[in-house]
Structure formats: C-alpha cells, structure tokens
C-alpha cells in the first residue's frame, strides 16, 4: 500500500525526487530488516546452543507463549485476508485525512488472491517433497564440517560477525562501534543521534546557563538596579514608540 501510494504519488513531476528517494529508502529498509531478522533468529534460535544456559533453556509457561502466538496469528490473518481489514481501515483513514480512499480497493481483493496462490504453492511444494522422499528414511549425521574434526558451538557465526560485512560500508553512520582485539571481536551499538547531537547541544546550553548564573548573586542593590534598568528600557521604548505622538 505504502509503495503504491509512493509510486502513484510519483507520477506528478514535482514530487518525483521525494518518491524516488523514499522508494529506494523503503527498499533498503526492507532488505536491512531481512538481514536483521535473519541475524536475530539465526543467532539466537538456530544452530547448536552456545553455552550451558542456552542448552538448559526450557519453553516458558503457556501464559507467556499464548499472547505472542495470538498476535502473530492476527498478523497472518491481516496479511492473508486483507479484504476483511483494509476497507474499514481505509474509511477511518479517509475520515482522519479527509481525503478520498482512492484506488486502494483493487489491491485488497488481488492480495487475497495472491495469498491464496502462495498458500497453494507451499502446499504443492510440501506435497512434492513428501512424494520424493517417501522411498528413503532420512538418516541422522553431524553437520558437514568441511574437514573440521570437531566443530564447537563457539565456531558458529555470532551476531557481530554476521553483521560485519553489512556494517563495513555503512561505517560509523550505522551507529555501531566495533572493537577488534587480538582475541575478541565485538560490536557495541551506540545511538549516533543521541551521542553526537543531543548531548553536546545540551552540554552547550548548560554551560551557557552557568555563565549567566551570577545575575542572581544575592546583592539586593543589584536586584534594584535590575528593576531600575527595566524602567529605563521601558522609558526608552516609550520615547521611541512615542515619536508618532
């Protein structure tokens, strides 16, 4: 939907730069999101447990797993059956934005069809796979170690190593600081905006404030001079504004 709005929005000549930029940005975001989730799922859930704590991990109580499962289910239904959800959302959107809902109607029906086709494809592939592997019983063996005698969990890819090639071109703009020592390699995320922009600005403001503090030093006569100064400035204003008496 967002892409569609962007692309249709782009057809007018003047907003084209915005459209191009945002479309590319969205695509980049999509790809980076894929990388990020692949990293998270891969490093945490898949592969061999990396330390004793991980291997002793047990599924939490039902009360904790049900809510996420429910929400995930909702997401899937919205994805697969947008017909049910999108039109009412659009009406609300129109209400808020006051504009018309535009041509978004078509997309909802089509995406439901698309979801159906995808589901059918998956079922077909699964059925094909079952048919093919019916003859042989699958064997169990260790992961192929390309000649490595005894692969240990520690050799598996860690999150920072997974992200290293991706972060190299992006550099410090990506908000991570990599520490490489002879023995270890680790990346620590820091918030570039907060660390480089907000805090220095705030320190500058505070420094300026402390410089102004002496005006409240405590001498009564100085305070009275402030009042006198206010009266004088006001009188000067009166003289200047009074010109058009």
């Amino acid at each position: 939907m967002i892409y569609q709005a962007l692309l249709t929005g782009g057809s007018e000549r003047d907003t084209i730069q915005l459209t191009v930029l945002s479309a590319v940005a969205l695509a980049l975001m999509g790809a980076l999101a894929l990388a990020c989730f692949a990293k998270v799922v891969g490093v945490i859930y898949l592969g061999m447990p990396r330390d004793s704590g991980a291997s002793a991990a047990r599924e939490p109580a039902r009360g904790m797993t049900l809510p996420p499962v429910g929400l995930a289910g909702l997401c899937v239904t919205i994805g697969l059956l947008p017909v049910a959800v999108v039109p009412p959302a659009l009406r609300v959107g129109a209400l808020v934005a006051g504009g018309s809902t535009g041509g978004a109607q078509v997309a909802t029906v089509a995406s439901t069809v698309f979801a159906g086709v995808l589901a059918a494809g998956l079922l077909g592939a699964w059925y094909l796979h079952r048919a093919l592997s019916r003859r042989r019983v699958p064997l169990q063996a260790a992961t192929w170690g390309c000649g490595f005698a005894k692969p240990t969990p520690r050799m598996a890819y860690t999150a920072s190593s997974f992200a290293a090639p991706l972060l190299a071109p992006l550099g410090s703009f990506a908000g991570t600081r990599t520490d490489r020592t002879a023995q270890a390699f680790a990346t620590h995320a820091f918030d570039p905006v907060l660390d480089r922009v907000m805090l220095p600005v705030w320190r500058g403001v505070r420094a300026a404030a402390t410089r102004l503090r002496p005006i409240q030093r405590g001498r009564l006569s100085v305070y009275l001079l402030y009042v006198g100064a206010a009266v004088i400035t006001v009188l000067l204003y009166l003289l200047s504004a009074g010109r058009d008496l």
């Binding site: 409240q216 305070y223 009275l224 009042v227 206010a230 009166l238």
Partner: protein, 479 residues
Amino acid sequence: MRLLVISALPLLVALLVLGVPAFRGRRVPVALLAAVALAHLALVTSLWLAPEPATLGGWLAVDPLGLTVLTLTSVLFLVTVTYTVGYLRREPPSSGRVFAGCLMAFLTAASVVSLAHHLAMLWVGMEATTLSVAPLVFLRRDRRSLEATWKYLVISSVGIALALLGTFFLASAQVDVPGRPLVLPDLVEHARDLHPAWLRAAFLFLLVGFGTKMGLAPMHTWKPDTYGEAPSLVSGLMAGALTSCAFLGVARVTQVVMAAGLASFAQPVLIGFGLLSLAVAAVFIIGQSDMKRLLAYSSVEHMGLLVLGLGLGGVGAYGSMLHLVNNGLSKGWMFLVTGNIVLATGSSAAAGNRGLVRTLPVSAALLVLGLFAVTGSPPFGLFMSEFTILRAAVGSGHPWIAAVILLFLAIIFVGMAGLVLGMALGEPEPGQVPVRESAWLVAGPVALAAAVLMLGVYIPGPLHEVLARAATALGGTAP
C-alpha cells in the same frame, strides 16, 4: 452587598484574631480559619450563580476577569487551610495569631484587588497583599528567611511604588475626560479620548510595577529567595493567588490600552517581557538544585507565558486566562507536595531527597504527576492553555515566537525532569523510613491535581463562558 461582605469579612475576623487577647499564644485558630474560608468560597460561588451589581459607587464590581481571580484565590485559600490542619500538627508556627491574622488579611486584600474597579483601590489592595504576606514569609525567623523577607519587601515596595506612579499617570491622562476618575468602566468607555502620551506612560509603569509583583524578569529576583525560604503553603498561596492578583492589575491596564486602540504599542512590550521571563526561567532551571527555587523559576516561566498570551492577542487572551487558572491550581498543588517532602525529610534540596517514591509514596507520585502538569504535558490543563497561546502565536503571524517558546519549554522540561525524577526515584537515603502521610496533608494536592486534570480534558460551560468574556474584554477572541 455581597461584594462588601466578601471583602470585609476576612478583615474583620483578622482584626478579631489579632486584637482580642484570647487568641494569644501558639495555638492557631484553625476552626476560625476554616469557617472564613468556607464562607468566602460560598459567597464567591453565589456570585457565579447570581450576578451582583456594582456597589460603593462603582468602586467594587464583579466582572469576568475579577471573578476568575477571586474564585482561584478562594479555592486556593480553602485548600491551604485544609493543608494547614495537617501542617500545624508537625510544625506549629511561633505565633498562631500572626499566622491566622495574616492569612485572612491576605484573603481580604486579594478579594479587594479582584473586585476593585477603581484602579487606585486596586493598588491599595495590591499593596495590602504584599504587606500581609511579608510576616508569613518571615515565619521561620531564621537568618535565611530574614534575608528573603527583606529582599521581598524592598523590591515589592519599589515595584508597587512604580505602580502607584503609573496609576497617577493614568489619572492625569483622564484629566479632561468625562466619567468618574480612575473607575474602570468609564476608563474603558472613554478610552479613545484619553491623553495618549500619559496613557502609554501609565501602561508602562503599571506593567513594570505589577510585573515586579508578578515576578516577570528582570524584576523576578525576589521570587526564588522568597518562595525558597517561605513555608511551602505560603509559597503556594503566593505563587497561586498573589501572582494572579498582580496579573489582574496588568490585565486591567491592558483592557484600557486595548480599548484605546494602542494595541500595536502595548503588544511588543508584553511579548518582550514574556520572552525574557521564559529565557531567564530556562537559564536558571537547568542547574537548579532546590525544589522550591525550581518552582519559583517555573512560576516566572508561567508568568512570562501569561503576559505572552496577552501580547499575542487573538485567541492568546483566552489562552492566558485559562493558563492563569491552570497555573494557580498547579502551583498550589506542587508547593503543597513540596511542603510534604520538607515536613518528612526536612529539606527541599534535591541532594537530601532520594527515592521518595519509597518513603513518601503518595507525595512522590503527586510530585512526578505535577512535573508533567507544570511542564505543560497533556492530559493536564496547562497543555491546553499553552497550546492555545502557541496557536495564537502562529495565528498572529509570529511563528518564530512559537518556535522560541517551544525551545524554552523543552529546556525547562529537561531541567525540571532532571531534578524531580532525581528526587522521586533512586535509592532512598539510608536513614529515611517510610513516613505515614496524614490525610489532611494529601487531600489538598489531590483535589488540585484532579481540578487541573479535569481542565485538561473538559472545560465546564460557565467557566468557559466567563473566560471567553474576559478574553474579549482583553481585546482577544474566544476560541
């Protein structure tokens, strides 16, 4: 007739308490105080229901502006009295008589100021509020409160003297103009043919004079000392009611100036003072380490906003009036909560107070809520009024003013949050044991908090109508 009773009743009881020897000694006649407060509030609410014609030859009359300030003062007075019940058990003042007498004298003076339509009488009332509060500021009788009282007295007296000069300027502007001298309705009616030069000078002197009483920068220097050293309930009353009366003085003269069509002359001055106050407040709130001084600077900030609202005109006037009510209630609430903290831990400095959430759960919760209220975050009323003022800024073609205001509000929010959250959260001091908070001490702030919250969500009909009429009188428009 009711107007006379409203103004005279507290004075009579005050004289009674001060004069009659039966009240000597330390015990504070709390029952009497409560009776006066309730009677006063009852009379004020009756004013809301049935309007009252002017009395004393037009010198005392009820108008939307005055009614708002009167109601605010009356409500704050009642809340402070209920708070005093709990307060006295912990820290009885050295002379109960002076304490009660001065409180009631303050109520009288504030009532006179809100009802006065004769500007000189308004000045007399204003001077009376200053003098009635001075002994209260000096309640603790130690060196620091002595210094605070002295500075408060001298600077306020100079301010008030300037206001008197302004009033005389106004009188001389009205020399050959029909209508009773210095009576507001006549002034507003014949505003156009007042002498412009004298009127301008009068406006400026009255603005500086009452500005000193309000605590506008650069005449604010007495505020942090006075609010810092006075007992919290007195600071609350001053920050809530006294500054509102001072603002009323400024509003009266703005009424006359707007009626005389000198808006283009007056508005830049108001905006200038407003922005300066915001700037000074922002600068001094950042490194602040004492809660009461922090609230004092927050009061400077809100006074700046009030004057800004007047200066921006349009819907800003309504914003100012709403902000006046909100500020009064929220300042009362915050000071009373700080009072609880001082009672429990002995100091309002941030250093001495840590992890209050554990030792003073209710007060700490109110403190944090108050932080959000005073810095103008939704859902509290201050957000509504500050938003209206910003809307006026943008509406009247000064978007850069709105930007500057937002910048200062942001700095102030960070400064205040740093201090308040530092006090509320974290590990409590080793020796501090959870304190049982008496209902009397907490009832007041909770009621005020509820009122501010309500104003943020829904403004009752009659209040809205009064505020709107006040705004139109000030040359603005209702939203």
